[in-house]
Symmetry: C2
Subunit: 239 residues, 2 copies
């Protein structure tokens, strides 16, 4: 099989990381073109109707043979079906997609904690508003979303403490990434709140110990969290 091609920014985990984790767990070959030579023009081309009839609005974008697929949850829907990272039933697939879209919602909100006014201005230009939005995010939104995901884990009758059924799905990988991101960005808040969500914490360890994920996390392919990505550690937003 032709290797997949991932088009994503080379210096951040960002939304591309949810795709990278799925590709790594599946153990399928892929080229992360942004990190290679002439990466940026190739990313731009994936967003340009002059070169692509189905150009995407924004990265991440995945090329899979004839297909060019954009939107993180859509890429995972595709990879999940193709590589056994989602159930085979319609019910299970829809549930995975539903959970992934709920993860996407909190990820967008996490981004807006440092950019509540405009993605076109620097954080430093919207610091005051960022403090107000982060206060709400920490007090209301993190608990609301993570309580929900804890209940998803508790309500799953399958074995193994996965989100869906008795086997790992891309939703588990994404929950790991979400919790890791929140821990990075809001260490104080998460330190205080996390004991409420033991099943989520256990799931993170399960994911971290998957052989392919462990190898990935130890490799240079895993870009460290930083202050260019979605999850940013600004101490003034965590107190």
């Amino acid at each position: 099989m032709e290797p997949y091609i991932l088009y994503y920014w080379p210096t951040i985990q960002g939304r591309g990381e949810f795709v990278r984790l799925a590709l790594e767990e599946a153990g399928v070959p892929y080229r992360d073109v942004g990190r290679g030579p002439k990466g940026m023009p190739q990313i731009s081309a994936s967003l340009d109707f002059r070169s692509e009839p189905l150009a995407a609005f924004a990265p991440p974008v995945l090329r899979a043979g004839e297909l060019l697929i954009g939107q993180t949850a859509n890429i995972l829907l595709f990879l999940g079906a193709r590589h056994g990272l989602a159930p085979r039933t319609e019910k299970g697939r829809l549930w995975c997609n539903q959970l992934q879209l709920t993860i996407a919602d909190i990820v967008a909100e996490a981004h807006d904690t440092h950019h509540p006014i405009s993605v076109n201005s620097y954080y430093e230009e919207q610091k005051k508003e960022a403090r107000a939005r982060s206060r709400d995010f920490r007090a209301e939104r993190i608990p609301k979303f993570l309580n929900y995901f804890e209940k998803v884990l508790a309500a799953n009758p399958g074995r193994g403490n996965f989100a869906v059924g008795s086997r790992l799905t891309y939703v588990d990988l994404s929950l790991f990434q979400l919790v890791e991101g929140l821990r990075y960005a809001f260490p104080k808040t998460m330190g205080q709140l996390e004991p409420q969500w033991p099943k989520l914490a256990a799931l993170c360890e399960t994911v971290r110990q998957r052989p392919n994920i462990a190898a990935y996390l130890a490799s240079k392919r895993r870009i460290p969290f930083n202050e260019e990505g979605i999850f940013r550690r600004y101490p003034e937003l965590d107190k």
Copy 2:
């Protein structure tokens, strides 16, 4: 067939409207339970793991026989496949889902123009920040997204000026709702900018004239836009 049951807030179009439009166009029976007697407890139950093993995080939620489906784009993925509102090919389905998720992104941003700091506070408490966010939304985000959708229409080789292929899909219905919402919330801005997007405007008229949609829009089932929904007309945010 058992009628579908839609769980959504009874007084707003909101995200539920994207689902209502698909159900109306498909001409399938559904109960909008929020608008009937004892609607609110039924909506709450769809979000409660004590009554639903696959409880949703938030409305809209659709019950389809044994299935309970949450997240707007996920509901449309299901309805599109089942009622001929999406192509049959994997490529076409993924492209529809990708476009719908991009619509979801701008819908979330439209919401945040009036709630940039917290969904738990009133608009009046975040009016200053709302003005700043709306300025960016009008100057940068509306043009970026609508330019993109105009190009999607231009790049589609199919006949009929639809977004995907030569037949109407749920994406066309959602683009109609998006543009109508932006026209309602930002009449001045849209009046100035819309001439740039003739294909989008033409698509809106095509959708508006579909017999089932025309009947729906003329009925009491169509809740008018108002200042409780996602698209709100606050003149101070449109200048």
